[in-house]
Symmetry: C2
Subunit: 319 residues, 2 copies
Amino acid sequence: MIRIGIDAMGGDFAPNNVILGAIEAYSYINADTKIFLIGDEKKITEVCQHYGIDSGNFVIVHAPESIEMGEHPVRAFRKKKKSSLVVGFNMLAEGKIDVFASAGNTGAMLAGSVQVLNNIPGIIRPCIPAQIPLANGRNMLLLDVGFNSDTRADVLYQFGIMGSIFAKAMMGIDNPRVALLNIGAESEKGNIITQEAYKIMNDSTDFNFVGNMEANMLFNGGIADVLVTDGFVGNICLKQAEGMYELVAKLGVKHPFFNRFNYETYGGTPILGVTAPVIIGHGVSTPLAIKNMILQGEMVVEQKIIEKFKKAMLAVSAN
Amino acid sequence: MIRIGIDAMGGDFAPNNVILGAIEAYSYINADTKIFLIGDEKKITEVCQHYGIDSGNFVIVHAPESIEMGEHPVRAFRKKKKSSLVVGFNMLAEGKIDVFASAGNTGAMLAGSVQVLNNIPGIIRPCIPAQIPLANGRNMLLLDVGFNSDTRADVLYQFGIMGSIFAKAMMGIDNPRVALLNIGAESEKGNIITQEAYKIMNDSTDFNFVGNMEANMLFNGGIADVLVTDGFVGNICLKQAEGMYELVAKLGVKHPFFNRFNYETYGGTPILGVTAPVIIGHGVSTPLAIKNMILQGEMVVEQKIIEKFKKAMLAVSAN
């Protein structure tokens, strides 16, 4: 049985969109998967009644407080012990749910991951990946896209390990080709950190390292299935891609490729490297986005991502 | 009188495209501007004869050697004293030409700028800007796009000074709004270097600093006319924009906006912060690109960019 915890109060249109998304997901999840709606019980029941949804399809966990989008994430996480977000993290840490997903305050989600869950032993820094649509119809995994503004070479190498495992398990790519985002293909190119990361990754047999890759290949995939960078650069790449999406819309350019940038397709992005699965949704999440966030959560548990990360880190430390 | 030195042997299609571009530029430059073609005199004369071009329109400076595209830039620059590129830099340093432009080996151009010209007093690191076309028809200046892979906060602040002067003189933007490329708008966002750079830029009155800007505004301009970043990030942004240009071409998407990414429009990119004007052209330069490289060179001299940089640095050090 898989138990998916959802922050019913998370996101700009909560709890309505969360509950509508949960009921959409309900027809897709396994028969023995349970969706836990964490939030104000009265409000959840009211919304279910309003839309004629059978609230008996869900396990409702009462959490009377909620962390708003504008609140200081770390302070709110410490103070609001009865908020849906804090209750969700505690349930996850106590093993009462298998995955926790929220479209709420992103900073509070990051704070919770660090404060309640801790890192998987051996992992220096967690990270956030994003799937970049490629012109050939496939996706490439870019990571980190924003967890770490400052990084180190050995941290980038660990992103390669996590990215490789994630791409295989979640994207169905066998022996994923892992590249380092850089400003030239040659091994000596880049800044001090990428130069050092290149050496570590090239010496490693922990994943299929294929070398440096430049950003002009971001939308054709180039040589890579997984592209490693620090959270500062990765976030800028992702935002620039968003800017491109907005640009073509503004210019009136239509092509099905650009629809694949729609965040609703994935519904959220996981935090990789912490001891339990956490998925961060977009603040403006629609019911479709929430549905896909829940399905992604189920798959992360089914694919035993955390166990695979733990095993990989044990293998690394044994070498 | 403005004397523009051109590396006749620089670029994949030299000397043909260089000479064809020079003769195109000839009808646009001021009557008292002189184009110096630096390269193998015999080859230059042959090409002129082949195309029926009057070589008397140019000053031909004989340089029997040439640095090839694949050569190690620093080694080639040291060894090939009689190459068109080294002769050009020496003429520039000796004041025999007012600007030097080449579509040849970029690394050798950077090496020459550092080894022969030196930095303007007070400038810590030179940089390379690029004009990014915006959806509103204007351009934004992004710098640095590749000179410095590792940087410091005070170096970013100096890029703000140079970018502001360049945008006013070369792009006709009065009191240019200078922003710092970052992963959030708030002052405390970013990595250690951008956090510190924000403080220095915000405290400064040397240019019109408007704060942090995110990369999703790269093609609409957001709040800025000049966007400052380090050469690693700037190069990745520029390459990703190139990737977008290639992507839309591959998808068959047509819109006049994307034509503005054509490198031929500007013909080359200047190196800012060294003691004399240097312009680097694209290796595949067409005659049109060479023509625009020459016209940009003339404008850089007319606009007294170097003098303006020197004056600004004196003002800064006097504070």
